[in-house]
């Protein structure tokens, strides 16, 4: 399952960041999104726009393509 499969308001744990491009991964880690963290899907923008997730009480927005390469369970 990947991050985009989450329904709005549901929580999952990140377990795989290896498929994410290096620069994006670095930014996500900086912001506190890395393996073992719980993420909550907040909302998705229309027409394939970015998603907004919450990690540790912090909201982060990233593109759907990148979110789709983040493995969660």
């Amino acid at each position: 399952m990947n991050l985009t499969d989450l329904k709005q308001g549901t929580i999952a744990t990140v377990f795989d960041l290896t498929k994410v491009s290096e620069l994006v991964k670095q930014r996500l880690i900086d912001m506190g999104l890395f393996e073992g963290q719980e993420v909550c899907m907040k909302c998705t923008m229309p027409f394939g726009g970015p998603v907004m997730v919450e990690v540790c009480g912090q909201c982060i927005s990233l593109r759907r393509r990148e979110a789709a390469s983040i493995g969660v369970k």
């Binding site: 670095q26 880690i29 912001m31 506190g32 890395f34 970015p50 909201c59 927005s61 990233l62």
Partner: protein, 669 residues
């Protein structure tokens, strides 16, 4: 004087703290080599200077402004580190703190937002945290200024005495061996902490790497150490990079510290932020709400609040001020030349522009409000899909909005964009945003030709700027930057009501430049233009049509005639408008020799009609970025080629659009 440096994550209240600790700016300049703003403030009640640094997550830079921080550590002298830490985001914030502790300079923590942490049900034992980290911690609420006095006092005592660096030392396990090997390779004469350098090198910090290589150390043996470590990671079955491994080691340490010092009662939600987000980032309402905000912002600046104020100022400048100057000049017996120069040149030119100070300040105020409230990041998210389709990302939208105030800070704001391609493209597009300096030109023409639909016509120009920017971006990204990947990750800070002090300061910082411009560029330009209009090939005090100004402007007139304004007056004012776009109005005031805006508008109706006026405004909007903007583009891109490119393409676009408006519009009207 002692210098202290302020470090912290983005969105931790760094600016609030800086404003609370410092009374006035010692100076605001640029960091050497880059146009990232360097702000140095004088501490209130204490002796010392505080240096504001861009917010960073770690010392390992990904974007241009983050580089400044690492550069600062490597090259600048300072006494102590002041690290602002967001108590509600401790885990993440301490990553930076640990790197700063490893740097080895005396460090003081300002633990901010203890109130926010508390409302989220988290209590922190500051004493224990302070013991475990081995540094002093002062709890503060930067927004209200609570605890800032104590922090300031703590910061300035013991500056001369040697303070022991923190005893906290993180054990990086099997990396320690590699760290030791690197330290041995580093020469003895460097004053910086070698362990810090070694760790940063292993983490892949490019700036530190460059610094180490500049010390003439055998690069191959350094690279070999790194390769050994990477091999070791694989052998141990660790899938991550060295950087991530180091991050994880730190994270474990931080978690173990936090377990002892924090007590989480119940994780309460941030209700207000969540509620607002549910509306403004709603799937369908997001973009309409943003447009509504822009509309309100625009109406406030232009219509509801700005115009009446500008009219008042206009009346004051053309009435009492001119009268007083006139009687003073008569009283001291000034010659008619001086009298004409001051009244018809300077007062008409500079005054004609100063009139717009209220509108420009309102615009800057509203932009500062958007910046500080946390809404900007949402705008970036909402607009990302649109921006992606033209080869940019949502973050590019922020420089563009700031560009509505002034293109110069807009272009500078592009430095937060990580991808060089997207950054360059954003820099090239930002000058198309209708900055406040163009407002005087619109105000003048709209008042003369579009009395009934003032706001609507001006709004259409703003929209025109955006649409042209989007189209141009699409063309450029498919022409020059084919196949380069785009990136978008952004943090969405909780909403905050901006603080009065911070708002005022950032409004003033931005607006000041405009007033300064009136005293320099516009003043000088007005004198020059007046002289050129006063003198001609056949002597002084000639008829305006025989002046040098008319000659120069006349050269351009035939080129401009298909656009609907082929007069020497238009040519001359556009030419001088390159200095600063407001000068277009200053020049017109002088050329048409009128005391105030109203009579100028009357005269203009003899030279323009509604269509050519609109075509002229569109041309002013798009043609060449002003001098200051060109200089900023040069600095930020570091390329003469792209600087010329930005001038030439905008001229072409302006000409094309204006000709389309005038010729096609002419068919219907």
């Amino acid at each position: 004087m002692s210098q202290f440096a302020l470090f912290g994550n983005p969105n931790t209240g760094k600016t609030s703290l800086f404003n609370n600790l410092t009374g006035s700016y010692e100076y605001v300049g640029n960091w050497s080599g880059v146009t990232v703003e360097k702000k140095v403030g004088k501490l209130r009640h204490h002796n010392g200077q505080l240096i504001d640094l861009p917010g960073v997550y770690s010392l390992n830079p990904l974007s241009k402004d983050e580089e400044v921080v690492t550069e600062f550590l490597l090259t600048d002298e300072f006494e102590k580190i002041l690290n602002i830490v967001d108590a509600s985001q401790l885990k993440r914030n301490l990553q930076l703190t640990i790197q700063l502790l490893e740097f080895g300079k005396p460090l003081l923590i300002g633990l901010n937002m203890i109130d926010v942490a508390k409302t989220r049900g988290m209590s922190i034992d500051e004493k224990k945290l302070s013991e475990m980290l081995g540094v002093s911690i002062v709890p503060i609420i930067a927004r209200s200024g609570k605890g800032c006095d104590v922090l300031s006092k703590e910061l300035t005592i013991n500056t001369n005495k040697e303070i022991k660096p923190s005893k906290l030392k993180i054990d990086y396990g099997f990396l320690e061996d590699a760290i030791e090997r690197i330290i041995k390779l580093l020469p003895d004469h460097i004053s910086m902490n070698k362990r810090w350098m070694a760790i940063q090198f292993l983490e892949g910090n490019k700036r530190v790497e460059g610094y180490i290589y500049s010390l003439k150390i055998d690069e191959t043996s350094l690279e070999q150490i790194k390769k050994d470590v990477e091999g070791n990671l694989v052998n141990r079955g660790v899938k991550s990079s060295i950087r991530q491994y180091i991050y994880n080691v730190r994270d474990q340490k931080i978690s173990s510290i936090l377990k002892e010092v924090t007590d989480v009662a119940s994780l309460k939600k941030q209700n207000a932020t969540e509620l607002i987000d549910r509306i403004v980032t709603n799937r369908f309402l997001g973009i309409p709400i943003f447009l509504l905000f822009m509309y309100v912002m625009f109406m406030l600046t232009f219509d509801w609040l700005g115009s009446p104020l500008a009219d008042l100022l206009d009346g004051f400048l053309s009435g009492p001020v001119t009268d007083i100057l006139q009687s003073v000049l008569t009283a001291i017996g000034a010659s008619s030349f001086i009298k004409a120069l001051i009244l018809e040149g300077i007062v008409a030119g500079v005054g004609g522009v100063l009139v717009f100070v209220p509108q420009i300040f309102i615009m800057f105020f509203l932009i500062s409000f958007l910046e500080d409230s946390g809404y900007m990041a949402r705008v970036a998210m909402v607009m990302d899909r649109v921006m992606e389709s033209i080869g940019l990302n949502g973050k590019s939208f922020i420089p563009m909005i700031i560009g509505f105030g002034c293109n110069v800070p807009g272009i500078m704001a592009a430095r937060t964009i990580e991808q060089p391609k997207e950054r360059l493209l954003t820099i090239l597009l930002t000058p198309l945003m209708s900055c406040s300096a163009r407002l005087p030109v619109y105000a003048l023409f709209v008042g003369a030709f579009f009395l009934k639909h003032q706001a609507l016509v001006v709004l259409s120009l703003y929209v025109l700027g955006i649409v042209v920017a989007l189209v141009v971006a699409r063309i450029f990204s498919s022409l020059f930057f084919k196949g380069e990947s785009s990136l978008f990750v952004i943090e969405l800070p909780p909403y905050r009501i901006p603080q009065a002090l911070t708002l005022w300061r950032s409004t003033w910082e931005k607006g000041k430049g405009f007033i300064r411009k009136a005293g320099t560029f516009i003043f000088g330009g007005s004198v020059l233009i007046w002289l050129m209009a006063y003198a001609g090939p056949h002597g002084m005090n000639v008829e305006m049509d025989d002046s040098f100004l008319a000659m120069v402007g006349g050269l351009l007139a035939p080129v401009l005639s298909p656009l609907g304004f082929g007069t020497w007056q238009a040519g001359a004012s556009l030419l001088t408008g390159f200095l600063a776009k407001e000068v277009v109005v200053a020049t017109m005031n002088i050329i048409y020799h009128v005391p105030d805006t109203t009579s100028l508008q009357g005269i203009l109706s003899n030279h323009y009609n509604a269509l050519s006026a609109f075509s002229f405004m569109a041309f002013v909007l798009l043609y060449v970025p002003c001098l200051a903007t060109v200089a900023t583009i040069r600095k930020e891109t570091g390329s003469t080629k792209w600087t010329y490119f930005s001038i030439i393409y905008s001229l072409l676009v302006a000409y094309l659009i204006a000709i389309v408006i005038y010729q096609i519009g002419g068919l219907f009207l």
